[in-house]
Amino acid sequence: MAALTRPFRRRFLGGRRAGFQEGVTTERPQAPAPPEQAPVEIAPNDPLLAYFQSASEAVDIDTLELDSPALRELKAAGVKLAVPLVSQGELIGVLNLGPRLSEQDYSSDDRKLLDNLAAQAAPALRVGQLVREQEAEAATRQRFEQELEVARLIQQNFLPKELPDLPGWQVAAYYRPAREVGGDFYDVIPLPDGRVGFVVGDVTDKGVPAALVMSATRSVLRASAQRLIEPGVVLERVNEHLCPDMPEKMFVTCLYGVLDPATGLLRFANAGHDLPYVKTADGVVELRARGMPLGLMPGMDYEEKEAVLQPGESVLLHSDGVVEAHDPDRDMFGFPRLKETVAGAPGGQELIDRVISELEAFTGPDSEQEDDITMVTLERSAGAAQLAPSANGRVLDEFELQSEPGNEREAIARVERAVADLGLEAARVERLKTAVAEATMNAMEHGNEYRADRPVSIRVLHTADGISVQVTDLGDAGELQETESPDLEAKLAGRQKPRGWGLFLIEKMVDEARVTGEGGRHTVELVLRLQGGDDGDT
């Protein structure tokens, strides 16, 4: 019986439906194998293909007459018998056998055996082919997913790695793409004179194309922002750069604002982006400025507006992924709902958390995120204004403390850290700490009456000649004044109460202590000079 002693060789002819296999037979396996023959290809339009597909048994090549180039090749190669391998009506290969070495014709038993072999081999071969195809598809899919993951990482690198630590401000951001990569972006750009640029943008569409446009926009915007400063001019320049190369039907909406943290002045321009919301004491207002999206047409002007963010106010920059989210009934989250959320939430990270929570409740737990969602919030601390006139200097730290007994220890620790690099003598640092503790205690107890809604604001400045620590409460000016100067003899004799040392200690510990009050705020300013201190005993 002929045995297959050489591995199948296979050549695909335009896909698995036209597979082709070739084998060579020998009766003496121990004999040297004949030289390998090149596989014979069957063209898709060759009539031999249809013949094999419909053949129900082994085919005698010598007696077959067809106008077929492949058949001529098979005959020339000495193939005597071809056994089509058909699985579920599809020709998936052919076993080609040469002449028997005994020079006898293939017997009917040989043919029956080969037909049986083909009937069993064809499905097995088909399974093998399917497995290989699936493996190839899986590898392709995995490679694609890896590339997407790399794209996601690259895009994340475009987002700010950390948000600026602006004294008196809380800055928070949120970014969640709808797919692995998205078209939304935000950026924070340090500018000269302590100003900071804030960007929120949204490229039409999502996925890789949007991400590519996003990266280009971000780069151009960053470069322009450093040179031009004015938000309207920056957007004009970005638009001019993007227009020539922007793919058809794509554009970018973008809001760009420049904040001066010292004054709260926010200058902004808007390229067709959703309007930011500002939460003020009088309610929530929109920051409006006209401008077309970027990349649509050249020569656009962008209106520039200003707003001053007052202490306690916060602004929310957001992308349309928030307001255009749908609930299961296909109703949109919408601007009124977002505005309401802004009105009811504090600013900063808490506002972002509140919006996300509201959004998730609205869309339902199992909903797929429809669009990229980006938010940036800027919140100005409630006690960040009304500083004493001598407050010029570099802010080393600024923070708020709840009015709770014991929190003066936190104030001490923060101030100590803030002045650590200024080279103060240890004894003078200790004096400053005691003065800060006493001023903070007074502010919490007398100014704010330990009320939860009245925090104490503390600002540490490095001034031209020393250190200024301003402790501000929300009480009326004058409340800190102790009624009488402490006299220990009088206290020991019961003529004065034992307490009443706070202001006395403050005045003794620092070079100068000033009290100012304005607009419902009361500030004690502690001044410690770096040079020429008189050891506090003033």
């Binding site: 007994p405 014991g406 003066e408 220890r409 936190e410 001490i412 620790a413 004894a427 200790e430 004096r431 005691t434 503790a437 006493e438 205690m441 402490p486 220990l488 003899e489 206290k491 020991l492 004799a493 019961g494 109460k497 034992p498 307490r499 009443g500 040392w501 706070g502 006395f504 200690l505 003794k508 506090g536 005993d537």
Partner: protein, 120 residues
């Protein structure tokens, strides 16, 4: 920096009641400080306040010490303070507490110098 509630322990050494103060001497220390004082002055002998482990003394803590000093003076009990950092020693001087209680450099000085102790 969290506050550290004051813990007070009283021990006797050579007729002097040594009051060890561990933690913050602030408003929250009032009850514990008074308890320690009462325990230390039960027999009317001199007392020594050990501030070595008192990291933080604020104006309310100063007022509490003034209160103890007033009580002690009314009974003729001598108070010595020791273990004060340079900073709090300065505050004891500025407030004139140092004029009405003896300030010792360390425990030995506080005990040795106490009038009415066993060593005297």
């Amino acid at each position: 920096m969290a506050t550290r509630e004051l813990e007070v322990a009283v021990r006797r050494r050579e007729g002097v009641a040594v009051i060890d103060l561990v933690g913050d001497v602030n408003a929250g220390a009032e009850v514990e400080l008074q308890r320690g004082y009462d325990e230390a002055t039960r027999d009317g002998g001199p007392i020594a306040l050990n501030f070595a482990a008192a990291d933080y003394i604020n104006s309310t803590g100063i007022a509490l010490i003034v209160g103890l000093l007033a009580q002690a003076r009314a009974r003729g009990i001598e108070i010595t303070a020791f273990g004060l950092s340079d900073h709090y020693r300065e505050i004891f001087e500025i407030t004139r507490l140092a004029d009405f209680m003896r300030i010792a450099d360390n425990e030995d000085g506080a005990v040795d110098g106490a009038e009415g102790g066993d060593h005297a």
